[in-house]
Amino acid sequence: MKGLYSSPFRVYLCLFALAIAGIWAGTELPISLYPNSSKPTIYANVSYGSSSSEEFLQNYGARIESTLEAISTGSLEVEELVAKYGTSSVGYNIEFEWGADPKEALREVQGLLNGLSGTWPKEVRDSLGVNFWSKSSGFIAISFFSQERSLDELYDILEPLLVPKLAKVSDAEGASLWNPNRKEVRIELDIEAMAQLGLFPRNIDEALKSAQSSYFGGSVLVGTTKLSIQMPRDLNNLSDLENLLIPTPKGNLVHLSDIAHIDQGPSSGHNRIFKTNGAESLILFANPRTGGNVKRMAEEILQIVEEVKPQLPSDVEFRNLVDPSEFIRESVKNVIHEVFLAAGLAVIVLFIFLGSFKNTITAAIEIPLSMVLAFLMMKLTGMNLNLISLGGLALSAGMNVDASVVVMENIFRHFEKVTGPLNYSQRMQIVVRAVKEVMGPVVASTIASLVVFLPLAFTSDLTNAILGDLAKAVVFSHGFSAFVALILVPTIRLHLMKGEKGVEPPKSPINGSLVKLENGYANLLRKFITSKIVKWLTVLSVMGAFAVLLITVLPKLKKEIIGTPDTDWMILAVNTSGNTNIRQMETTSSIEEARLLEKFGTDINYTFVQIQGANRSTIMARLKKKEDMSRVWKAMETEFQNSPTTYFWVGPWNPAELPLPDPPHMKAIVRGGSDEDRKLLAKGAINLLQEKEIFSRQWTESGVDRVENIQVLAKRELWPLLYKEGVRFSPYDLSDLARVASEGRNLGDVSIDQKTYPIRLSFPEGTMSSMEDLKALPIGVGDKILPLSALGDVSLVQSKPVIYRVNGRDQIILMAKEKKGEESKKEESFKAAKLAIAEFEKNAAEELGLTTKPQIYFEDAESELNGALKQLGMAIGMSILLIFLTLLLQFGSFAHTLIVLLAVPLGIMGVLGSLFAFSSTLSLNSALGIILLNGIAVANSILLVDFIKKLVSEGMVPLEAAILAGQKRLRPILITSLTTILGMLPIALGSGEGGKILQPLGIAVSGGLWLSTFLTLFLVPMFEVLYLDWKRKKDFKLPRPNQNVDETKDPLIPATEDVMIEGQL
């Protein structure tokens, strides 16, 4: 140790190197908006090709499910597998247990499915898609628009400028500029000509494919040079396409233009429109690759857009719809701001109490240093920089000066005793002695305030996922603060002393007032303890207040998982029924948008509209001020009421919201029985819930509505004779024809004038508007024109319900939820729903005409959340237990321990009171606040009890001992409490981006500590006196004076106070 302090430059260099490493680690840390707060889920999708959902399930699906469900490697374990077999494809959601590495899970699922796909038909194999998308990683969206240009013009301007650059953004995955209005080459077939020539869409597809390839004809050696023979592709422009030769079954060749109209135009199949301020827009969208840095990605993309901006015509505008880097930048700024504020406030407190500027700075240096060192640990443990972990760093800022103050104080105390000049080695000896003396307590008290986080490590993964980062950040930075205090502070002190002559203990600038305060407090305490009425009245009223808080305030507190930051986006979703064309929706949407602007125009900055289809659109309005959100929300809800043809949904949208599991309030599962009966029972139950209006919203997973499809059954028995007659089409061509006639078909891409366009094959609009039209589709067979119905039976059939399977079992899930803001009704509604459904189930079989017996089982929908909260409660209990055991070790007496623990309920009282007073919420974060508070609050009462005990053991009367102890320990209690309370104040105020998330924590700690400190100062000495008096009477003798006080001292006594009191004695 001597060697350490004697070479200050070595210490500085080492710490400097560590700090540099820490800063490097800080810049290298992956940045995301939030820690990963959802279970890693991999999505896989497969099309059936030509088989039906049932066939697919039988032949391949069951095997896929069992293979996926059985995934169980060391770190990967499948928790739930949901399979949804739709009409043409199946989706698998493979949910892994907490903590699984999404990249590894993705690799595993990909590997398994690729292995299985070897036996699948090629068409099915090619359709396999496996991916992972995390909601917590954030994304960027920018809209480009112009009031003067069409989307295609805009795209042609932007595409060459942006797209090549976007490809180079290494953190992004699939950054793209999306033109919803992309042009395509349209081939509109003449249905009569096709029939008369006996052609099918396949013939055109084949001709097109062969015209698009270029052919290689070997090579010739001419002289010494080798020349390859090539036949370039035929298709280079639209007129080439028009002249494309199509062979007919009769042996002729016809030009494509003879049987089709060919042109280039906006995609007819386009089903989306984006509008910014009413102008159709292009969208630039990108999300980060797994483990990518979303902030860097967003910044690079924004920079690209800024670089391109000068080259754009002046009418081209853009809006950053979602910019995650903005949130992160703001919250980093916010955290730094909070850290500075917390440090500043702590420094002011230190200065007021310590009096020396140099010393204050020496103590304060710890704040940035321990934070930078924490980065190093975060890097080593693979953590992310996100809003939560940054919050943890801000939180610990105020707590981090404590250790330095202790060390410094003890050094002063030791120098105080000596007079006269000292040489270097003497000074060194004193410093080493002083540090050694507090080393134990400093380390121990740091451990004590961190040990409360230990139970968190054993909580459920949801709590751990959300709070783990915060707890780890606090543990790392607070842990390092002890390290810095023991190494750097003495070194600086020793270094500074070189220039100082004597060592005058610094005097506080408000020393006079402090002395007055101490005396006043001593007098008040004496009166309080001696007056029986005041004493017991206070105890009773505190107990009463606690009971009132528990009974009335606690249930009233709004509960949430975690605070949500304010947002400036409001959403108005518009749903209609009966539209067939997206342009109809566009009209409806603009009417509603105008209404929105007319009523709320003054609050709205700009609007962004997404028209997702003929019956769906979303109007997003960016408000000018976030504070207006709830007012505008309410007003919009009353303004936009459902009508029989238009349905609205109003709500805020927060791209920066922590994605949390959002379970329904009721979950019931329909199992057993036949597919049809299960569906009927589920439908009946949902109708019942709707009719009784128990919940505000109810739905089923996998639909229960009747679905009808048109079935075409080819008359295969005709084909042998047809073939004899020279017919060369197959039953497959019939469905292909129907598909082209109904919705059209994409034939891949074609390169026209060196640009790539999709080709779409279709019949003129309106060719097929009813089943009769389908039946009458003309097909040329020899000289005859037959209706499609001659070659296949066309009929309307009830289609098979979507097969929904969870972990290999068929089921339908009924779900219901209360409206936002009415969640408190959920338990009552759940009971009512359960009763109603039980009643309904009794007669269901008869009423619904069921032949089998499906049943409804209720499940705890919120089991995960409830489990998390329960475990968090247990973690609080555990942390109190840990403190209790620590204290028991220290005092060896239950009575003293319980008196010290009095600080805990007092703290909780303060928490409840302040959460209620500031209308904050009971959340994971306020629970964490309570845990943190327990560690800090008992320290004050430890100080008092320990000192009283010591004084009494030295022979003092309990009353006098309590008053003296209170008077002498007031100052250290005030220092530590004030630095912590003021350090948390910026968080409690919850200002800035993301500030709302940690606000309950700040309120809990500062409010709780405030009340607990104040009441501890009176109640703890009082109970000590009561107990010691009672004990003295019981023992009929004074406690034996203990000569060896220091030896009984437990290293776990928080050191700050201990040392300071010694100094003042």
Partner: protein, 312 residues
């Protein structure tokens, strides 16, 4: 004491304020009055227009085409000279033979050119009478019971703007085993109507024509295997929802026929702004004679929309 009174008064006041329920906003519905209308099944077939008179002129002997006096599109009368062919066989002394129009009509195809060597029986020309046409369809064996002689259908094609009425002239009693269809011929009811031979169109027949109720599918409400519609009943000047069990018939073009359970004049709910429990009071959004008013409102809204956009 005074404080106590004030307190209790304020508590009472606030309680009364809470207990006063806000008037609940009624759900709005669109109704349609049940009225019987014509319902029918329809059968549609692709149909080819053919000329009744379509004569192909063949060469009577081997020879060389000397001249074509009636080129393509030329209107000819029966027995009019069409083509002169000179014998190449010395037996006939290279005598020219004139081919005459077998019928009146228009030369619709010319298969040879002047100077061509033709053999006996080779197609030379085709004469078609465009004023007399028939329409041919192929009827699937299953539909033969409906498509009978005399059945009236309507013909549409791209070449014709208007719908042309046709009558089945006859149906072949023979079903072609390769196609599973029998041919049927139709004639124009209005002989003045013009159809161009060779055109492909569509004929639609109505069958099973009867009166009945039809409603959009949205109006049907399923409970288990039972089917209901909801109607509104006027009681004390309030429109209340009432469920009526109905039996469904066939679905045609998005509309469902209701076979039984409905009475003429019932106000059936076709669309609603939310789920309607039995007995709930509703507001009817489309009470008769309000259609025009709505249109006006919509117009106004569109105008406002453009104004508001201009503001932004």
């Amino acid at each position: 004491m005074k404080i106590f009174i004030y307190l209790s008064l304020s508590v009472l006041f606030s309680l009364s304020a809470f207990s006063k329920d806000e008037p609940k906003k009624l759900k709005s519905v669109f109704t349609k009055t049940a009225a019987k209308q014509e319902i029918f099944d329809s059968f549609a077939y692709p149909a080819t227009v053919e000329a009744v008179v379509n004569a192909i002129v063949l060469s009577e002997s081997q020879g060389i085409v000397e001249s074509i006096s009636s080129p393509l599109g030329y209107a000819v009368k029966g027995n009019q000279n069409l083509v002169k062919i000179r014998h190449t066989d010395p037996i006939y002394k290279y005598k020219p033979v004139t081919l005459k129009a077998p019928v009146s009509g228009v030369v619709s195809q010319v298969f040879v050119s002047v100077g061509s060597l033709v053999s006996k029986g080779q197609k030379i020309l085709q004469v078609t009478d465009p004023s007399k046409v028939k329409v041919k369809i192929e009827v699937g064996a299953k539909d033969l019971q409906f498509i009978k002689k005399g059945l009236v259908g309507s013909f549409t094609s791209k070449a014709n703007d208007s719908v042309i009425k046709l009558k089945v002239l006859g149906v072949s009693p023979f079903v072609n085993p390769a196609t599973g269809t029998a041919s049927a011929e139709l004639e124009l009811i209005d002989t003045k109507a013009k159809l161009i031979p060779g055109v492909l169109g569509k004929v639609v027949f109505k069958s099973n024509v009867h009166e009945g109720f039809v409603f959009v599918e949205n109006a049907i409400y399923y409970v288990g295997k039972k089917t209901y519609v909801r109607q509104t009943e006027l009681k004390d000047e309030k429109y209340l929802v009432k469920k009526v069990e109905v039996k469904l018939g066939q679905k045609r073009r998005g509309q469902v026929e209701i076979l039984s359970g409905l009475k003429e004049g019932m106000m059936v709910i076709e669309r609603a702004s939310g789920f309607l429990p039995e007995g709930a009071e509703v507001a009817i959004g489309n009470l008769p004679k309000k259609e025009e008013v709505k249109e006006e409102v919509k117009d106004k809204k569109v105008k406002k929309a453009s104004k508001a956009k201009a503001k932004i």
